[in-house]
Amino acid sequence: MTDADAPLRRTPLYDDHRELGGRLVPFAGWEMPVQYTGLVDEHHAVRRAAGLFDVSHMGEFLVTGEHAGAVVNYVVTNDVGRLEDGGAIYTLLCNERGTVVDDLIVYRHAPDRFLIVCNASNRDKVGAHLARFCEHHCDLRDVSDETGLVALQGPKAASILAQAGPGAAEAVAATKSFRFRRFEVAGVPVTAARTGYTGEDGFELFTPWAETPKVWRELLRLGKEAGLKPVGLGARDTLRLEARLSLYGNEIDEATDPLEAGLGWAVKFDKGDFVGRAALEPKKAAGTARKLVGFEVTGRGIARHGYPLKSEAGEVVGVCTSGSPSPTTGKNIGLGYVPAALAAVGTPLVVDCRGRDASAVVVKTPFYKANKAGS
């Protein structure tokens, strides 16, 4: 974790956030915009048109060298060996106990060059973990301080980005989901990946740190007519929750394994040995004792991170990992761990909202699914 007393760090877009009326709050050691015009307003902009997010605080590591691919594939749970150049993959980073150190996206730039993106809050920890396995085998470099990152998300994201410069339209059309490509936005070379954390179609654009504002301003200008808005961390959280995307520190942490978190699809036992495999294999065979489920609060209450989940009989059986009113569905939704026996859709639950019981029911997730282009 970041030292609580250390001064907050600022992304290259700090001045832009202030100018746009963003409310800046401390987040993982950074001063980040939690909202500009309003959380719900920004949330709807992403679902209906497009939103622009500053995620420059995230950590980036470059792994290079002849054995880079083999090392990365050994250290993460998903199969990086399936990637081609210009391909990306979501994965967990586990420790030997099979619990989650962080979740990542790994990008293959070349057979000997991989970029790893991690959560801002885990940057130091991930760096140390990777270093243990890279040592003597490949080069590891923390490039977070030179790498800006903005996310353009929403049904209009592709059409906005397509206007961004010479070759942008062709590049956007050719870049399918979890693929990436280099081109220029406002004269700045960017790497645009068709990935995101909102459940919508969209792109994440890696930029040279100091030139990030040029890209940010150009995208806001290009997207203005289409309804593009800057979006803060508040809506980022409600958007990812509706799409049932895990948040590190909530759904996953070092007390959680990927299987119970419903992320078994990102653990590939058929790829050979990897860190955490020995611990995860028996769990996979035995089945997990608890499962992460989505639920809807049907009673009067809003589930929040850390609230106890009870059975219908009133016995505490689990915990809510994330919860919020869902702006898109109008319902109060949540994610939480419950015993496997209570994980079936339709199972009644009770959320203990600070001493006030609210009825809930296990529902299918994601809570919201977009009709995505490009995937």
């Binding site: 309003g38 508040g234 809003i302 009113p325 702006p327």
Partner: protein
Amino acid sequence: MAAQSDVRDGLRYTKDHEWLSESGGEKLVGVTAYAVEQLGDITLVNLDVKPGDTVTAGKAFGTIESVKTLSDLFAPVSGRVVRVNADLVERPELVNEDPYGKAWLIAIEPADAGEASALMDAASYRDFLSKAAH
């Protein structure tokens, strides 16, 4: 900070961003426009008291929730609850629309008439907000 928050003359204010109406025997309690701006869209109001209950200054009598967060509602002064605003159960958005009017939370008959005058007046609260902003 964007535009300055609406602070009404003639009300008393707490550091927890609640207001208390000064006139009459019963005193209305609500949350300030500044509090509402900080919270965003209000989605749930829970009042844990009913007429006849007593509240204690600085102690929570309910909660207010926006999409993002939950905040406790603190009694500005001690006293007996005379009325509660039942409209807020069905229409929490009233807090966003009219925090100084339709979205009053509870009415209190203060135990000590002097307690309210120890709270900030509008000028002091404006000053308090300008210091809190930076």
